[in-house]
Symmetry: C5
Subunit: 374 residues, 5 copies
């Protein structure tokens, strides 16, 4: 019971959080009136330093570096082996602009990299491919975080931009270090796929969490002490499902477009992997749709639960009132003060009356038993 209570409180806090972030996402006064192409970071300002990880590898070589100066990254990009640069901290817009112009990124691309409101998309530019996705995970407080991730696929390199450091890419890092699988034998496009796959794999966690919440609410429906917060929590869950849906739905089109791309940085042999990725994305979308329907049903179920409770309250009232009101009336009759009420004088009339009352009582109880109210 305690567990549930705590959970409820946490969900509530989260719902506030969601409402806020939803609004933050849709509006951003900071950007109104800005010239297009001006990169404006609209996420939360963290005062951590920009922090870039560089992985430079091919089948034989492997270098891993952690740099705070963006310019030190350039040689790796230019070097022959495949390079993965992972940049954490979107608030450092000027540094992102630096590396952007070094790689020849369009100003609008740089704007999209730092604009955490940008929805998932794929864009092809002359020399590179630009992918935006959303990383979904639960933070240490178990609340949903939607993180903005951008990926640049150029000739022989991938640059990834994240809002903050996270461990979603850890399996990729480990596979690079351990030279497990075919990752180090493939090109940069396979790296891009692997990174996207790591993100999509994480979606399944969230789907699970939504499933747990739906179940939790289904259990709670018939709690005796469920109160008004239920409605608000279900509304918050609806909003959460809609947000996840919005983050995940466009991915279908992104992967589809990538499959059909004829851009030079995408090689033919990657298509088969993208098809696999597409399968996963479709599977996530289908699960979200199912949970969406289940969530929407919750309010209806709650309504019937309330009505059921009200029905049982009414039954108690009705049974008590129906039994005692007629009996009280009979007692009232013999409480009248008429001078000529012959019954009052008979010796056993009081006891006879008590007997009659017991019989009436018993008949009433039987009636309610028959009606299944008792």
């Amino acid at each position: 019971m305690k567990y549930l209570k705590n959970k409820q409180v946490k969900i509530r806090k989260k719902s506030d959080y969601y409402t806020k972030t939803l609004k933050r996402r849709t509006s951003s006064k900071a950007t109104i009136g800005q010239a297009p192409g001006t990169p404006v970071y609209v996420g939360q300002k963290l005062d951590k330093e920009l922090y870039a990880e560089v992985f430079d590898y091919n089948e034989e070589l492997f270098t891993e570096e952690q740099l705070n100066d963006i310019e030190k990254v350039y040689p790796y990009i230019d070097s022959k082996p495949i390079t993965w640069v992972n940049i954490n901290g979107l608030q450092h817009t000027s540094e992102i602009q630096k590396i952007g112009s070094y790689c020849g990124l369009h100003p609008l691309v740089i704007e999209d990299i730092v604009n955490t409101n940008q929805r998932p998309k794929l864009e092809e530019y002359g020399e590179y491919l630009f992918v935006v996705l959303k990383m979904l995970y639960l933070d240490s407080e178990n609340s949903l975080v939607i993180e903005h991730v951008s990926l640049i696929l150029g000739k022989g390199f991938v640059i990834s931009f994240q809002e903050a450091e996270g461990d979603v890419f850890d399996p990729v890092r480990n596979r690079l270090r351990a030279n497990k699988g075919i990752l180090r034998t493939m090109g940069a496009d396979y790296l891009l796929y692997v990174l996207m796959d790591a993100i999509v794999d994480h979606y399944f966690h969230l789907i699970d969490e939504i499933g747990n919440k739906v179940e939790h609410f289904e259990d709670k429906l018939f709690d005796k002490d469920s109160d008004e917060s239920f409605t608000l929590e279900v509304q918050a869950l609806k909003r959460e499902v809609l947000r996840i849906r919005r983050a995940v739905m466009p991915l279908r089109e992104v992967v589809n477009k990538m499959e059909k791309s004829t851009h030079s940085v995408i090689s033919e042999k990657i298509i088969i992997y993208l098809r696999d990725l597409q399968d996963h994305v479709v599977q996530v979308n289908e699960s979200i749709e199912i949970y969406r329907e289940m969530t929407w049903s919750l309010m209806e179920m709650y309504m019937t639960a309330i009505s059921n409770k009200m029905n049982s309250v009414m039954k108690v009232l009705t049974i008590i009132a129906t039994i005692f009101i007629p009996l009280t009336f009979i007692a009232g009759i013999y409480g009248m003060n008429f001078e000529n009420m012959p019954e009052l004088r008979f010796r056993y009339s009081y006891f006879v009356l008590l007997g009659v009352m017991v019989v009436i009582f018993a008949l009433m109880v039987l009636y309610f038993k028959k009606k299944k109210w008792l």
Copy 2:
């Protein structure tokens, strides 16, 4: 009545089962962080041995073998007559990998064969066609089982992979043995069609079962002793319908794609059979949609049923209270102790009053009769 009760309990247990399997299907932590192409079996671990059936046939010849060693299957595949290999037990990933590489299957295909979460699809590869479907049936405890089935159609052979042995393919086996119909005169593509047809035919059973449940719930709506579990059971039925829908819906596209395929392993004369299969798939989908609508209506009907019950409870209360409260008031009047209440002294006033009360009672009853409350 007893039957219903038992049924209800069973459904409940199943609903737990469904919730669990739904979650199992959508998430699979085991696979997160795995390199793509690593086959990971996420179904239930059964410790049965891998068990392969081999049917090698043409119009004249017919061989049937049951083998536990996967390597003994190879000669049959290479042999001239049509070969059907049915492999039971997806947990034996290493053996599946062996036969996979013998037949030149792509690692992602092998991953999909053992990944029971994979949704139905058709994929064309250079030398073979890969089909994933879901076998739906009721187990001995009458609960829904969604089994993952993969089919490989190569030149002159079909390999089918099942989670566990089942009898869905029995009619096909019998037709092969009995040389009934045209099955043994046709190629491997016809065998593929026949296997898919056997699976789709089984869907109709399930549709029936859903129909029975909807009817059962419709009957139960007006049971006097229906309780809160009703809502949960309908929710479980909704989930079940959604799951079946998810397993069956993609088949439409699969068969459609197969019809239009120009892959060398698909011959022209099979198209007409695929069109027939498509008809059946569409018919299953339509039935599911109808039951979906019926199921969604159930909650609404339940709501009106509760309200109807509450209405009748209220009527009982209202009738009793409305009749006796005024009468009790009258008795109260003559129970007052004023010294000067002339009526109290008249000889027949008590009996007159009793008569008045009877008249009031009768009028009230008439009033309620007229209002159809009695």
Copy 3:
């Protein structure tokens, strides 16, 4: 009133019928495990003999025959004039197979002719066109019958297969006999169109019947004695609408496909008539959609009707209780046995109190009048 009651009972019986037929339609264990192409009749077994009508005609000639032996039909098909063969009784699978093979029909076509679960469709074969539709009509007991009709359009002949004799084609027969209109001057494709048109024309009857039912339910909503059966009847109506929709919806595609067909048995000048037929089909579909929406609204309306009734029950209770409970309390005060209650001894206090009670009563009544409860 009596009329309505009877109607209700009939509808109920029909609803049972529908549920049964719906299930029968979707499943057919008889066919599970059968080799594809095996004709299995899944409708009701009637023991009537097969009965074939033959119309052989052109502008000048006209022959009408009724035959029980299917082989006697062959010469008419081969003869030069246009031939219409109408075969009643799908349970005679062997005879249908005979004529099928005489005309060179594919085994799957013969299977579809006798499979009453087959949904409407058009298929083009080398020498002929195969059309499946559903004939909808009300039987003598006013219940909906969905009859399976197949039409074969070959060079110079049309063969129609019906489950049982019916009068839907009567106008066509009469026009043939009377040589009215252009029917006898046109080819077999025009005959096909005329037969389909006769079937579609009959749909309008059913739409009417659905309209009557919806209206009947709307009237019944506010009946004082409507009971629980209402919900079940509306559910049955929903199911009926869904079934009709399923039978009629695919026709749109069928006629569309026929319009665009380039098959040799379809002549150019028929297109304009098919466009007209398409118009009718679209019109039927639109009407069904409207009645669907109206039917779905019925439950909502019923819910408000119940709530309205409950509201008026509550008002009666509230009025009575609110008036008499305070008055009873006052009477209770003066029924107390305190020795020192000065009011009891005043001469007119009893009458004053009665007056006070009348005033309270009047005020209460006024209050409820103002609140529009009375």
Copy 4:
């Protein structure tokens, strides 16, 4: 208030009317069994004579005639200037057939002209274009009339067929007479556009009327004396919205098809005007969709309104009962006849008790005030 009452009555009558017309529209037993191409008028039989208006004009010339003999119209059609023939009265099928065959119209076209159930469509024939639309307006009793209008656009002439005379085309007549705008300088195709535009312009009136009704119902929701008729009236409004939608929706496709037409009677410079017309049609459709959603919301709002009312009824009952039942109990205590009840004998106990009762009463009132029930 009186206004509203009247309005309500009228709406009710209209709703009957709608139901009837809806049924009339969807079915028409008269036509069942008729050979295709037989013109059957299914609208209301009016015994007015056929009445044809002829406008013959070009930039310089202008002739206006009103004729009762259809054959007098022929010379105008053949004459060089643009001719507009407006024929009122579809029940004169034989005369319509006459002019139809004079202009070379297909029998099916003539059937569609008099078949008032025909849905809006555009059909291209060799020499002419055939357009069906619905004229929507409110008659003198303020009820919705859906009138069937057919337009034939031939080389240099337009023939319009109406069920009855109306003033929808009056602005066009006036513009022709006054030689205002470019109308007399343009061809027959522009005249067709102008006539269609006049009809579409009139739709906006109806949209307005629907808007008024929705508002009227919103106001009525909280009327104290709203009764059961509300539900039926909303249902009638739904039906009305669905009917208008059905009449207007297909226009989108009609105008679209006309824009893309390459028929010789449509000149290039008309396209720009058709685009404008399309804009209006889309706008009407959007408004209908909005009112549809608003109308569907009404029932839900009504349900909450009923529940709100019931809630306030319950509160009154609860307040009265909760205050007086305990007080009555106390009075009952001291009405008991035990011989040894010391309180009865104390001098001021009666007055003390009255005081206690007043205090209890006050506390109860405060409690309800705090709970906001008072």
Copy 5:
């Protein structure tokens, strides 16, 4: 609390406003019967003078003028540098016609410029591109204003037409004056994009406002003193959301069409910016859809809130009645006047009875505690 009340009142006034404007938008009797191409201003008549701003610029030059005479604008349009003419006041139809014919605009274009009911669209003409959009903002009274904006993109100039002066374009003016960004180095097509971008950026404000309202209603759901106005306010919010949707939805198609346009006034390098604009439009649409779902949920939540309240009212009544009715009955027993009631004479029977009553009371309270009603 006061804040909320005020807010509510304001919303109500706005809702009236919306209803009115919705009707104004959909109908416009003024235009019925007008010849197509006649410009009729259907917005509110303001008696401000026409007021044109002219910006003439290229990378080096910059001129800004404010003119009241439309003819003074002509030289700027003809001049070489890029020209932006912003015309405020659509009621000056004659002056708009003047500049329209000077620039060679089609009469229908001029009609659409002043017709504030025109929905967003893009039309390509020989020499220019015509864009209609809706500017959405909150006026000083915080009510939604939907302003009609038309943009003409010709060779080297953009003319914008607004209903009234506003500050939505201020950032563009400032960027022009300050020569910030690339605006002054780009062509007229970039200016068009920048103006559209400024309008779309403003949509985010509105989305925010809708979000605030939804939240406000969610908070208000459980207010003790929420009343009937809630339903009407939610209905008004629904209508507002639908209106915004209607204004914004067509933009998707407009921008899409512009991206694919091959018109000479659109240069290739603008495409990338239009894609960015498309992203924003999609984002706005998605947010509207989410708020739409949230808004539609509000009524359902409100319904459960009412039911919850009613449930708690019923509980109070039931507790009081269930406790005191039996006790009153017992008191009634001993208030009877039978001569032979032995208990009445025992010494302590009164006190024993009081004790029994206390015990019954306590048991009842415990029972309700156990049932969680207290």
